[in-house]
């Protein structure tokens, strides 16, 4: 959902809902990818994600929510086991 082109000059948002309609993940360049052979399900990535984008899957492994992940790479750096790599967004 792109609305940036309809913005007023200076990106002033006149709508009461402010920036809610914008997709948070749309400007991401990289996204995390999990190597489930290395992952120990410790959950540190989930703890440290500033945007609460990491969700626990039914099998206990973790995955990122593409709507919220901004591709910052905090999860990849904080994983002690090197289970996360940042891959380029296609």
């Amino acid at each position: 959902m792109s609305m940036w082109d309809k913005n007023k000059v200076g990106c002033i948002l006149l709508d009461k809902k402010l920036a809610q309609p914008f997709n948070k993940g749309a400007k991401r360049t990289h996204k995390p990818a999990w190597d489930e052979l290395k992952c120990t399900k410790c959950g540190l990535c989930y703890l440290f994600c500033p945007d609460a984008a990491i969700k626990e899957k039914a099998d206990g492994f973790f995955t990122s929510d593409a709507d919220y992940c901004k591709g910052c790479g905090v999860c990849a750096r904080e994983c002690w086991f090197g289970a996360i790599t940042m891959v380029e967004e296609s």
């Binding site: 402010l18 920036a19 809610q20 914008f22 948070k24 991401r28 120990t40 399900k41 410790c42 959950g43 540190l44 989930y46 703890l47 440290f48 994600c49 500033p50 945007d51 609460a52 626990e56 919220y68 901004k70 591709g71 910052c72 790479g73 905090v74 990849a76 750096r77 904080e78 940042m86």
Partner: protein
């Protein structure tokens, strides 16, 4: 995988009170992470619906002095407790003091010390680099009788000019280099939360941040000296506090 002590989903509520529905934060925002952890600690109970499902207030209480270093304008989150008491949480991203560390005249105001001097019942410092410590402090501050104040140092990738993926690492380095010690003051007793036995050189913290790139080696030495002295003073007052208490 029970052999790992850290298993976060078992230690924390899974429920996510913090929903960054509005893209109010940049990527790798230490402040967003701190807010999220604070609400992990407090739960959904005190929440009025807003864009983050939390009463998030960004006020700018500028404390002005003659000296530019006396200025201080962070975001404050104020939560009412029982009996008109307030839990204030300060998310300090050092935006106003981007020049922190360029010399004595720009050293930022020591807000926790001001709060202690003002007689606030519970004062603590925290960092998203030590998440469980932060969560415990927020819980304790909310349970403590009287007003409470928590000062959280939030690394800001844009303002401090470092790589977004370093946000948590920088938060941890601030403690490991003793530049931002973690402590809590309750009932006139000061307790170090993390006592750093072998502080890392301040340079480790500085070198990742673009905002400090104007520092010369002499500045760095002076800064190191100031940090060492401040830390020594703080830890000695801690010991006194412990003696008084026991």
């Amino acid at each position: 995988m029970d052999r790992y002590a850290v298993f976060v989903p078992r230690l924390l509520p899974r429920e996510e009170c913090f929903l960054p529905d509005a893209p109010v934060s940049c990527k790798g925002c230490g402040e967003a992470l701190a807010v999220r952890l604070v609400y992990k600690a407090l739960g959904d109970g005190l929440i009025r619906k807003g864009s983050w499902k939390v009463p998030w207030k960004q006020s700018v209480p500028e404390l002005k002095g003659q000296d530019p270093g006396e200025r201080f304008s962070p975001s404050l989150l104020r939560l009412p407790k029982a009996d008109k008491q307030v839990l204030s949480i300060c998310f300090d991203n050092e935006a106003c003091t981007g020049a922190e560390g360029t010399g004595k005249e720009f050293w930022k105001k020591n807000m926790p010390a001001v709060a202690v001097a003002e007689g606030v019942a519970y004062v603590a410092t925290a960092s998203p680099g030590y998440p469980f410590d932060l969560i415990e402090k927020v819980k304790r501050a909310y349970a403590a009788p009287g007003d409470a104040y928590i000062h959280i140092l939030c690394p800001c990738p844009v303002g401090w000019a470092f790589d977004a993926s370093m946000a948590v690492t920088i938060g941890r380095l601030a403690i490991d280099t003793c530049i931002f010690p973690l402590y809590e003051v309750a009932q006139d007793t000061c307790l170090m939360s993390v006592s750093v036995a072998k502080p890392r050189p301040v340079k480790d913290y500085i070198k990742f941040q673009g905002r400090f790139k104007n520092l010369t080696d002499t500045d760095m030495e002076e800064l190191q000296k100031m940090v060492t002295i401040a830390y020594a003073r703080l830890s000695s007052s801690t010991q006194q506090g412990e003696k008084k208490h026991g």
